[in-house]
Every structure is written in C-alpha cells, then in structure tokens.
C-alpha cells in the first residue's frame, strides 16, 4: 500500500493560511525542482548560528520522542574529539507509519540538505542514512544528482534497517551501523556522547532534518508562524480513516484532531501515537488537538504521528490484542522484565479478547504492566504498557461483552496494519 500524497487533505483554507504544506511538494521533486523551489542549502560554518536558530524555532524531534533538537545538536557540537557521526534515521519502524517513506521518496533533497546542514553545525566527519527499504531509486538518484553538482560536503553511507520494531531506536541503530544486530544497549552513555565507534553521534529523524533544512533557509520566526507557541511548527501524520485508506498529511501542530480524523457514527475510537500510543474514547476525546499538551490529559503523546480512526464495525479489543502480540514478539529479549512481562501481557490480552476469560487475568495483566514499566534498557515495555492500559480503559465494555462470549463488532477483518512473520533467528535483527 503506497501512501497518497496530500490528496483531499482536510481543513484546506486553514492549512493554507498556516503556510502548509511545507515539506511535501505537489509532486515528487528532483534536484532541479528542489533548488528552484528552495534555493541552495545555506551553509554557515561552525559558528553555531544554525544551532541558535533551531533553538529559537523550538523544533522538536519528529521520530517519536519529541526531544528539543537544539539540545542534541549542542551536545554533539561541543563534544571534544576529531571524529563525529551524524545519522538520518529513516528506519520508520512503526509498522503503521509511512510518512518518512513518503518524504524520502518525494522530497529526498530536503532531508539530505538537513543532513549536511546539521553535519556542518556539529562538526560531523561521517554521515549515514539508515533506511527502512535501504537504498531506494529516489534516494540514489538524489545522491547522484547532488554529487554531480558537488553539493554535499560529506559522502553518505546508506544502511538498511532490519524490519524490527526496535530497529530505529538510537542505540539499536548505532549497533546496526557498527555491523551488529539492531539491539538496544543500556544508556548511559547516550549516543550523542558515545555512539558509533565510541564517538559522539547525532541521530535525527528524517522528517526532523527536513524541517531543519527549512528553518535554516527561512528562519525561526517563519517556523513558528504555524502551531502554538509551546509546540510550534507542522508535522507529518499518517492517517487511517474508517475507509481503510492510508494517507500522509502534513498538519499544523495544535490542529483539532476531528479535522484530521473521522469522529462520527462510523468511528469506534481513536488511536493516537501509533503502537506505543494511546487509545482515545469517543465522543469524550473529540475536542482534543494535535499537540502534547492536549493529549497529556489522556496520558497520550504524538509519537511519530500515526493517527487511526477505528471503524465502528471492528472490535477494538481484538485489534489491541493483535498489536500487543506483535509488540511482545518484537521484544529484544535482553531484559528480564520485558522478556517475561510482555509475552504474558499479550497472552492475557488475547485471553480477554477471546470468548470467556479467567477472573484472575485482568488483574494479572495490570500487575505485569506495573512490573515492566521503567525496567527495560529502552522504552519498549513502557510504550507497550501505555498502549495496553489505554485499550483496557477505552474497551472496558468490550471486555465484559467478550467475557459473556459476545462481541459488538460485525467485521472480523483485521484493521491495524502489522507486518508478517515474527523474528526467530539472529539474522532477523541484521
């Protein structure tokens, strides 16, 4: 399924007023079109100008963690030592997310500009592109065109990410680039202090670098002209409506979720933030907006921008159980609590989604959820627990129905996308 390009993006007039879309051109662009539209990348030298502009802009990471970009840049920039690494993270390990894939296909030069600009700002000596599908034709063409015009200061090494949920995690990414399996390692030290080859490594999501490339050209005030003051800018969202189609839409942060997602009788519930995100009940959540401040009221977060309107004819409990089984299978299996807790939580959820369950199961799942939170080397158990707890809250009525052997859904076809196959050997992680 290929994501469609901004077609029928909702809220047309308001979005145009906010200057959207910013990242996605009307059609895929080659280098000539890119340069005609944006001009050349404004290199500044290592004067720190870009970093202070990024700080003024308030740009945060678009890979899911929403970490202030200028802080990561500053840590790597002021680290001592001759070698530094920068990585554009296009692993997009969230199965439902397609925004980085689209961005890298239609506007690769924006991402590559951002990569080179950030590399210059921090003094990187080595640049990498970590991609879900490896070297795609669009990327290869963009790199070739840029090489022909000698646009890039650093040559870029492309590494394919394995199709694992954790492959895009910073330390797993570094391990993969070093030639090993994409498995997380314990932090500290953070990769921005000691990463690939033991040197400071800046890892930024592909979309984040695209925004950075635009801030470098148009300045922080331009960036802040969209979105609320506390969370400025725009973000790419991957939207699933009840019709089952997947669309990538660039939305203004703070936009009403109901301008992006259906909330009527055709929708059972919303899922915001992907598979480490939060289920939201309707109509209670209908007034929420696309920003952390609003979502925090329901314990939610934006994640990598995956927004789902679950059709009313599907069973949310069954969908949640399917996804939890996937998340458990994707555990690295390195940390005792995650390794033991996630499969049990998944099995418990599967039992709740079956017809009839043991009385103890609900309490067991809650106990295991409490036991795994904060006790892994990465936040996989925490994100999974957030997803599970919100499902148990929002679909509590379904749990009671299933206990009596009933279900309010009429369509058994799976809705949320999941990849085929589970990892069984070490090769599946490289």
């Amino acid at each position: 399924m290929t994501a469609a390009l901004n077609e029928s993006a909702p809220g047309g007039a308001a979005r145009q007023a906010a200057g959207l879309p910013r990242l996605l051109p009307p059609a895929p662009e080659d280098l000539r079109g890119h340069l005609a539209r944006y001009g050349p990348a404004p290199y500044r030298g290592r004067s720190g100008v870009l970093i202070s502009e990024i700080e003024a802009s308030g740009l945060t990471g678009r890979g899911g963690a929403a970490f202030p970009v200028h802080r990561k840049l500053a840590v790597v920039a002021r680290a001592r030592g001759g070698r530094k690494v920068i990585v554009a993270n296009g692993a997009e390990s969230e199965p439902a997310s397609r925004k980085d894939e689209l961005l890298l296909r239609v506007a690769p030069n924006l991402v590559l500009d951002g990569l080179q600009l950030a590399a210059e700002a921090v003094g990187a000596t080595e640049a990498h592109l970590y991609l879900h599908h490896g070297p795609t034709p669009a990327i290869l063409r963009a790199l070739a065109e840029r090489a022909a015009q000698r646009l890039d200061r650093l040559s870029v090494t492309i590494t394919q990410a394995p199709p694992r949920f954790l492959a895009g995690q910073e330390t797993a990414l570094v391990n993969r680039l070093a030639g090993g399996p994409a498995l997380p390692t314990f932090q500290p030290p953070r990769v921005s202090e000691r990463g690939l080859g033991g040197v400071p490594t800046l890892v930024q999501n592909a979309e984040t670098l695209a925004h950075l490339a635009l801030v470098a050209r148009y300045g922080p005030r331009w960036f802040r002209s969209a979105g609320p003051d506390a969370e400025p800018g725009s973000m790419l969202t991957t939207i699933y409506q009840p019709d089952g189609k997947c669309r990538v839409v660039e939305a203004e942060i703070g936009a009403p979720l109901r301008s992006l997602l259906s909330s009527g009788a055709d929708t059972r519930a919303w899922l915001v933030g992907g598979y480490h995100g939060t289920w939201l009940p309707l109509p209670q959540a209908a007034s929420l907006t696309l920003d952390h401040a609003s979502l925090r009221q329901h314990g939610g977060a934006l994640g990598a921008g995956v927004l789902v309107a679950l059709p009313a004819d599907r069973c949310g409990l069954t969908e949640a159980a399917r996804v939890t089984g996937y998340l458990a299978a994707e555990s690295a299996g390195q940390c005792g609590p995650c390794l033991n807790g996630l499969p049990r939580i998944a099995a418990g959820l599967a039992e709740l989604a079956g017809s009839g369950h043991r009385k103890q199961t609900r309490a067991d799942v809650e106990r295991w959820a409490g036991l795994v939170t904060g006790r892994g080397a990465c936040n996989h158990p925490d994100g999974t627990v957030r997803f599970v707890r919100s499902a148990l809250t929002v679909f509590a009525p379904e749990i009671s129905l299933h206990a009596r052997g009933q279900c309010s859904a009429t369509n058994r076809k799976p809705f949320l996308p999941l990849p085929d196959g589970i990892p069984t050997s070490e090769d599946d992680w490289t």
């Binding site: 390692t185 314990f186 390195q334 005792g336 995650c338 033991n340 006790r375 080397a377």
Partner: protein, 71 residues
C-alpha cells in the same frame, strides 16, 4: 543542597542482569525481587546510612550489573 547533590542512586543495567538476586539479599531495604527474580530498585537517592551496604552490593553482583551513579 550540596549534600543532596552528592547523593548517589542505585541503578541496574537490565541487559547485564541475569537475576542472581545477590543484591536483594545484601540490600533488602532498597532492592526487592519481582516474580521472575529480577531486581526492583528504590529510585530515591541512597540514604547515607546504607551507602556502605550499597557499595558492597554493587561489588558483589556476579554480572557487574549494579551501579551507583551520581545522577
């Protein structure tokens, strides 16, 4: 103020930890074991009175998974 900055926290590297349980024996005030044998560690700074025991537990961990950090 200076005293709290000096205080250390007990942390476990969950990848290195294989659930020996020696830490829970030596420092039951701060470490309990979950139902699978892995340590649940008190997140607060280590009280001064327990600092020596905490160091002993860190040294005794067969997997070198327990750490005292100044964070």
């Amino acid at each position: 103020m200076a005293l709290t900055e000096m205080a250390e926290k007990l942390r476990v590297n969950p990848i290195a930890c294989t659930g020996h349980g020696v830490c829970a024996e030596l420092l039951p005030e701060l470490v309990a074991l979950d139902e699978w044998g892995y340590p649940i560690i008190d997140p607060d700074p280590v009280p001064v009175a327990l600092e020596r025991d905490a160091r002993r537990a860190v040294a005794a961990c067969p997997a070198l998974a327990l750490k005292l950090t100044r964070q």
